[in-house]
């Protein structure tokens, strides 16, 4: 009997996935046993894809069982590749074409109010993640993936980065803790990832190691696009070193806090009031602002309580945070609405932006409101407030027509 590889998931609650059992044999050619509820509709194309995949890895004799629950092509080939790599040593990668939407780059300052976590080994959650319009999606390789599934998840996440349309959401991946996370980069950096989340970050040195690896990969693959970083502060040491981390590199665009691990590290419990993490949150906001990047809050874990989430977001906003993590798509709307500027903020921003326009129209170098001079960063901030107000429907696009000067 030859080597046997297995990959994927099966069971009652599993959908849009498949479970592969692959046995490399010495003779007899390729034997495919496909069990699928979409067999009559997609059976031929699944078998063809499977044969093509095996041929790519130069496997001539194998018995393969596919237990399919409606997996899309990018999932099927990820599972087969994972099973193959348990049987043979190879660096080859079976890659599907990248969809055009997934070659887009994102901006350093763009909105990062919501980022939706997607467990990296659960493909059924991938397809519809983007339709809920989060600012970003996170394909997670860290805590939401079981240790034994890490290798498969890397391949699946790589394929998702190429094949799944996230409808304009920033494509983020949370790698594993450094040093293990450095290997993950090989699976994400060449595949147009926009941003890498660095968990349990505790030093500028970790950031440097990551950036060295990113640069090496991009150079080898002759690729050239920005890969941003969002370190996550999740320990007492991380909190102390927050500014050192936030200012460690040019491509760091945001600094996030992870409160589950942080409170555990402190030896305390996470509470709704959050007094235990007040210092840490203020420190992260302060460090991020000092480094000129976005401060991002932790996740709120009660997915059924939208009223409590709203209160948490409003508090988070009042501390200076610009975004939060989401573990359920229904949280996105509440987060966007609660981070949106309020009427007073919009009013003030309108006055500033209007003064800026007037100054520009008159060719003045200095923007002033009444007798006060307005600094450029304040104008920039006010412009962002206006953008968010328009986006959340709180302000008309044509607000300047109605604006009283």
């Amino acid at each position: 009997m030859g080597k046997i590889g297995t990959a994927g998931n099966k069971g009652k609650s599993i959908r849009s996935d498949c479970f592969i059992t692959l046995e490399i044999t010495n003779s007899g050619g390729i034997k495919i046993d496909l069990q699928s509820k979409v067999k009559s509709l997609f059976g031929d194309s699944i078998v063809k894809l499977c044969k093509d995949n095996l041929k790519f890895f130069k496997i001539k004799n194998a018995k393969i069982t596919i237990e399919d629950t409606g997996a899309l092509d990018f999932v099927i080939v990820a599972r087969i590749e994972a099973a193959i790599k348990q049987c043979i040593d190879t660096d080859k990668e079976y890659l599907l074409d990248v969809i055009s939407q997934n070659k887009d780059h994102t901006g350093k300052d763009q909105n990062r109010r919501s980022r939706l976590y997607l467990p990296g080994d659960t493909p059924k959650l991938f397809m519809n993640a983007g339709i809920h319009r989060p600012d970003g999606i996170i394909l997670d390789l860290e805590d939401s993936v079981a240790p034994l599934k890490k290798d498969e998840a890397k391949i699946l996440v790589r394929n998702a980065l190429r094949s799944v349309n996230f409808y304009g959401a920033e494509r983020m991946v949370r790698i594993n803790q450094i040093p293990k996370g450095l290997d993950d980069l090989e699976y994400v950096v060449p595949h147009f990832v926009n941003l890498v989340l660095v968990p349990k970050c505790e030093s500028a040195e970790q950031i440097q190691k990551i950036n060295e690896k990113i640069e090496k990969i991009l150079k080898e693959k002759k690729l050239n696009y920005p890969v941003y970083l969002m370190p996550i502060i999740e320990s007492a040491l991380g909190v102390i070193k927050a500014y050192e981390i936030a200012s460690a590199a040019e491509n760091i665009v945001a600094l996030a806090i992870g409160l589950e691990d942080y409170t555990a590290d402190l030896g305390t419990q996470r509470t709704i009031e959050g007094e235990e993490s007040f210092f840490a949150r203020c420190q992260v906001v302060n460090a991020a602002r000092a480094a000129g990047i976005q401060p991002i809050d932790s996740v709120f874990s009660d997915v059924s309580d939208m009223e409590a989430l709203k209160n948490v977001v409003l508090e988070s906003k009042s501390l200076g945070f610009e975004g939060m993590g989401c573990i359920h798509p229904r949280q996105i709307k509440v987060i966007h609405e609660s981070f949106a500027p309020n009427d007073r903020e919009i009013d003030k921003a309108k006055k500033i932006v209007n003064a800026f326009y007037i100054a520009t129209e008159k060719g003045l170098g200095v923007v002033s409101l009444g007798s006060k001079m307005i600094d450029p960063p304040v104008v920039k901030r006010a412009q962002k407030t206006i953008e968010q107000a328009i986006e959340t429907g709180k302000l008309s696009k044509d607000w300047r027509y109605d604006h009283e000067i």
Binding site: S16, L41, F42, G70, I131, N165
Partner: protein, 518 residues
């Protein structure tokens, strides 16, 4: 006469005969207008019945024998107990024990609990089914195992077929949660309470013999008498006629799926922006998780704008009852009660009114109630580029669902189908649906998680929504989007044998279902 194949008005090839009786091809919506007189039951004489009004018979078996059960008869039962029905299977078990053959089962709907009926289809007790073939029965039928050809009708179509004599019921067995010895019966009281008995109304009026079966026999009078004892021949008291927790579920809840909630939210937003939610409007939403959520979103809009609906059509459940209690709707006109709150409300609130297919969707009526309803929310297994819709078969060709009131509701002013763009990896929008159950001209709006398609015939809606920020897209674009994600499925393959006919609301044949190639 030998059956031939002809093309009907919607382009489907159908036989001219079904189970050796002539079949009329679909001629277009509202085109077929039969004349003559309605079917009439035999004249009965009250002196043939006990003067003391006691029509009790010791057992169902005895009642069936007294009713003259014999080979080739048509026996009807009803689905008020949904998946908790114990009576239909019992009837055919008795028939099989008596050695009766070639019966036609005429249920108002079938459920997975009716799987044991397969045994009586196999042993020849039942020749074929006219009603619905759900789940296991559908699979059995799809594999070509039923002797005769199945016939699927809508709830309204069932009433039409009974009224114009297309189906003549020999024995109707009505399972009633509460009844008196005279045969008056209702669904609002008793351990098997299900709300109403509307689906049995036609059977009580037109069947040759009517048997009422109950597990809650009370003294005369049984009030309200949803089924009137004057139509009833025999009354049987049994230990148990249904499984309460499977009849009504206390846990019908709005969906937790974020994707379905998004579809529900988009549907409600569309209705609001299109001006369909206005004072005095009316709507019908079903019992599925998505439909329930749409009701909840409607409530929020109505509260915010201070709008009241004149009536809501049930399928009622606790969410609809809350709207009635809160004063958001004046009346619930109910065709089916889905949970215990619905049953309670119907029992206690005079504005929660029970209806039957006669009230709601009667093709031979003098007017059509369905046309009065402003918004109706329906489901679908497939939709095609012409907005034709399939609700009975899946894309792999298997017959798995009945029509229910679906076809009848299409006559409402705005027919909306909130459906996911694909299920597992099976796209819902096709070039052509596997089976046509409803012509596209009657379907107005498709709402999916990836966009909303408005039927080009609804120029008024397109015009109203032209500045909307909602993702309104041509249906072709939605189809392309699904196929980019899922791939294009191979069409299902069929044998030549026709296993079931799909009737339109007027009794004509709109399509057929063929045996699935294994």
């Amino acid at each position: 006469m030998k059956s031939k194949m002809i093309k009907n008005a919607i382009g489907r090839i159908i036989p001219t005969e079904i189970n050796r009786k002539p079949a009329i091809p679909f001629q277009g919506v509202g085109k077929y207008k039969p004349t003559g007189r309605k079917f009439a039951p035999k004249i009965s004489t009250c002196t043939n019945y006990p003067l003391d009004g006691n029509k009790q018979v010791p057992s169902l078996k005895e009642a069936l024998i007294k009713a003259g059960i014999k080979d080739g008869m048509t026996i009807s039962t009803h689905h008020h107990f949904r998946n908790g029905d114990l009576i239909a299977v019992e009837v055919f078990k008795i028939a099989s024990d008596l050695g009766i053959k070639n019966l036609m089962w005429f249920p108002s709907a079938s459920f997975p609990c009716h799987e044991p009926i397969i045994e009586y289809l196999k042993d020849g007790t039942i020749h074929h089914i006219e009603g619905s073939m759900n789940g296991p029965l559908g699979r059995f039928t799809s594999l070509g195992n039923m002797k005769g050809m199945g016939v699927l009708r809508s709830h309204g179509g069932r009433y039409q077929a009974v009224q114009d004599g297309e189906v003549q019921i020999d024995i109707a067995v009505i399972a009633a949660p509460t009844a008196d010895p005279f045969g008056n019966a209702n669904g609002v009281e008793g351990p098997s309470a299900c709300g109403l008995l509307g689906f049995a109304l036609a059977d009580s009026q037109y069947a040759d013999k009517v048997i009422v079966v109950t597990d809650n026999l009370i003294e005369f009078p049984c009030i309200p008498w949803q089924i009137h004892g004057n139509y009833v021949d025999y009354v049987v008291k049994m230990e148990q006629i249904g499984i309460p927790e499977k009849i009504v579920s206390g846990t019908t809840e709005i969906t937790k799926s974020p994707d379905r909630l998004l579809i529900a939210e988009l549907t409600a937003k569309f209705c609001e922006e299109a001006g369909l939610i206005k004072n005095g409007f009316s709507f019908q939403a079903g019992a599925g998780g998505t439909a329930l959520s749409i009701g909840v979103f409607f409530s929020e809009i109505m509260r915010r704008k201070g709008i009241k609906a004149r009536f809501a059509r049930g399928g009622s459940n606790k969410y609809l009852v809350e709207m009635l209690d809160e004063g958001l709707v004046d009346y619930i006109l109910d065709g089916q009660t889905f949970d215990l709150e619905g049953v309670r409300s119907m029992r206690e609130n005079p504005n929660h009114v029970y209806t039957s297919p006669f009230t709601s969707y009667n093709y031979h009526g003098k007017g059509n109630f369905a046309g009065i309803v402003d918004i109706v929310i329906l489901g679908a297994t497939e939709v095609d580029l012409n907005f034709n819709v399939n609700v009975v078969t899946h894309s792999d060709g298997y017959l798995l669902h009945g029509i229910g009131g679906w076809q009848n509701c299409l006559f409402s002013k705005n027919v909306i189908l909130p459906i996911p763009l694909f299920r597992d990896r099976i796209p819902v929008i096709k070039d052509e649906v596997t089976t046509i159950c409803g012509p596209g001209e009657l379907i107005d709006i498709i709402v999916t998680e990836r966009g909303i398609a408005i039927n080009p015939l609804r120029k008024d809606l397109i015009d109203k929504m032209k500045d909307s920020k909602l993702p309104i897209k041509p249906i072709q674009q939605l189809k392309d989007e699904a196929e980019r994600i899922c791939g294009k499925p191979k069409p299902a393959e069929f044998e030549d044998k026709i296993i079931a006919a799909i009737k339109w609301v007027d009794g004509t044949v709109i399509d057929v279902v063929r045996q699935v190639k294994e």
